[in-house]
């Protein structure tokens, strides 16, 4: 009759019997200090919910719109046309294939920015669910990140693969670094999204802070402009480059910009920085979320 093995759920103080005292198949946990392993298992058990929420989000985003999925291609293209026009013809950034540069830097940034904005309210907006159904709440920001990732991958594939060649994108062996870029930007985004989702519940101001910080962060990151051109010409004086590289998302974006715009492999230092930053942010973000998870319901 039971759809899952009998699980002992034990929560509250004084300390519950430790895991070691229980048979293997039985999970024993205290909610306040629920073991890491139990959290991961619980998340895995709800993978169907995650998958369903991602699908639902994707299906609903464009359901009943005439152009459907094309909107996810059209809106970045429109943004890019506007930016390319402004910066190429009005501000006159003198740079070959400026549109390609934008393509490589803007798409991952938009994925990050949109996911962070949406997931900051992902718990708050599902308060009825959180207070009436026990489930691992991390699926909510994860589902937001997941559906945006699918969107990002599809629009990236179409824009870089199909539209790119018209703009002068040359397929290159350096593209083997792109999967690493996707992994890093996803991990980095999920980490910050988890922090934003949990902290918004405590402090409603966070959702406003996010919308203020993101544009500032965008202009502080070489997304609309490069630090230097492939021909060695400096856009930003060399002396300032070090400061730009302190930006945690700088190295991650290089994993896209180098292969697509420069056609070269990213610097080894950027790869190391991107991997370590995104891993650190993911671990810290998810740990923070799990630390606060059980108390969230009291603050909704």
């Amino acid at each position: 009759m039971s759809i899952q093995p009998f699980a002992i759920h034990c929560y509250g103080a004084p300390a519950c019997p430790r895991r070691a005292a229980a048979p293997d198949r039985i999970g024993v946990h205290e909610a306040a200090t629920m073991l890491l392993r139990e959290r991961v298992k619980e998340l895995f058990r709800y993978r169907e919910l995650l998958w369903l929420l991602v699908r639902q989000d994707l299906a609903l985003r464009y359901r009943r719109t005439v152009l459907g999925f094309f909107w996810s291609l059209l809106s970045p293209v429109a943004t890019m046309v506007i930016l390319a026009t402004v910066f190429h013809f009005v501000i006159r950034i003198d740079m070959a294939s400026y549109a390609v540069f934008l393509l490589a830097s803007m798409l991952p940034w938009s994925f990050f920015a949109v996911t962070l904005t949406e997931s900051s309210v992902s718990i708050l907006h599902k308060h009825d669910l959180v207070s009436r159904q026990p489930f691992p709440k991390l699926v909510l920001p994860l589902a937001t990140a997941g559906s945006n990732l699918v969107n990002f991958l599809l629009s990236f594939g179409v824009l870089v693969g199909l539209v790119g060649p018209q703009l002068g994108v040359m397929p290159s062996w350096a593209w083997v670094y792109l999967p690493l870029g996707f992994v890093c930007v996803f991990a980095f985004t999920v980490g910050l999204a988890a922090i934003a989702a949990a902290s918004t519940v405590y402090l409603r101001d966070v959702q406003q802070i996010v919308t203020v910080v993101l544009p500032a962060w965008m202009y502080a990151t070489p997304i609309l402009y490069p630090l230097e051109l492939p021909n060695g010409q400096e856009i930003v004086p060399e002396a300032f480059h070090a400061y730009f590289k302190l930006n945690p998302i700088y190295a991650i974006l290089q994993l896209f910009v180098r292969p697509i715009y420069w056609g070269t492999a990213p610097d080894a230092s950027d790869i190391t920085a991107a991997l370590s930053t995104s891993a650190l942010v993911l671990v810290v973000g998810v740990a923070f979320f799990w630390w606060r998870e059980d108390e969230l319901v009291f603050h909704l």
């Binding site: 369903l52 159904q133 026990p134």
Partner: protein, 258 residues
Amino acid sequence: MSHERRDMPTTPSILLEGVGLRFVMGRGASSVKSEALRRFGSLFGGASPLPVREEVWSLHDINLKLVQGDRLGVIGRNGAGKTTLLRVLAGIYPPTRGRVTRVGSIAPVLQLGLGFNAELTGRENVFLAAAMAGMPRARMKQKLDEIFSFAELSDYREVPLKYYSSGMYARLAFAVATELETDILLLDEVFAVGDLHWVARAMERIERLIERVGILVFVSHDLSLVERLCNRAIRLEGGVLQQEGTVEEVVASYRESA
């Protein structure tokens, strides 16, 4: 499984030991300004340095043991802590004091149609509700026909929920909730509303569901329904467990006191 250990529990159970739950009022929507004022207000000559946040104990020292076959009715006036108790049992509220030990899977039905999305079709919503309860999709797939035919909505599977009438919505929500497979079922005032024909069928379905589960905890103001579905009962008052006993005893004394 052959390698099961001897101390492996084989039936569902719930044990509450000295469970207390405290709510701190005003810890909901906080803002930078109110937090700053609360913490640093005194620096600027505020009268009370840390305005005392109001505390409410919704449950006091609850001790309760439920085993296989128990059908527990929870009665008491509004605000007695009945739904709070269900949420503690479900693991939604971690207890402030005491300990909850639960063996077996649990399905709290605190609200019908929870998580339903009006834009999604009936079928999509059924899968969503199942996933939310941690039930595998494959298992739900087998029950899909049954659910829609019971709800008399077989022709509306692929219709978005927003085109359902409120009666249709309620029937689907009820049909899904009563199809969940679980060891421990928590029901909060979920009774059937509708025409007589529907109510009779719904009652029969609830009774069949209750037969399948190991433990039932049922919160209701409908005393005759509690008497009909339960064999044990507790009475809560102001978060305190006032009385525990057979359903007849507890309901009778509650009727007298009312």
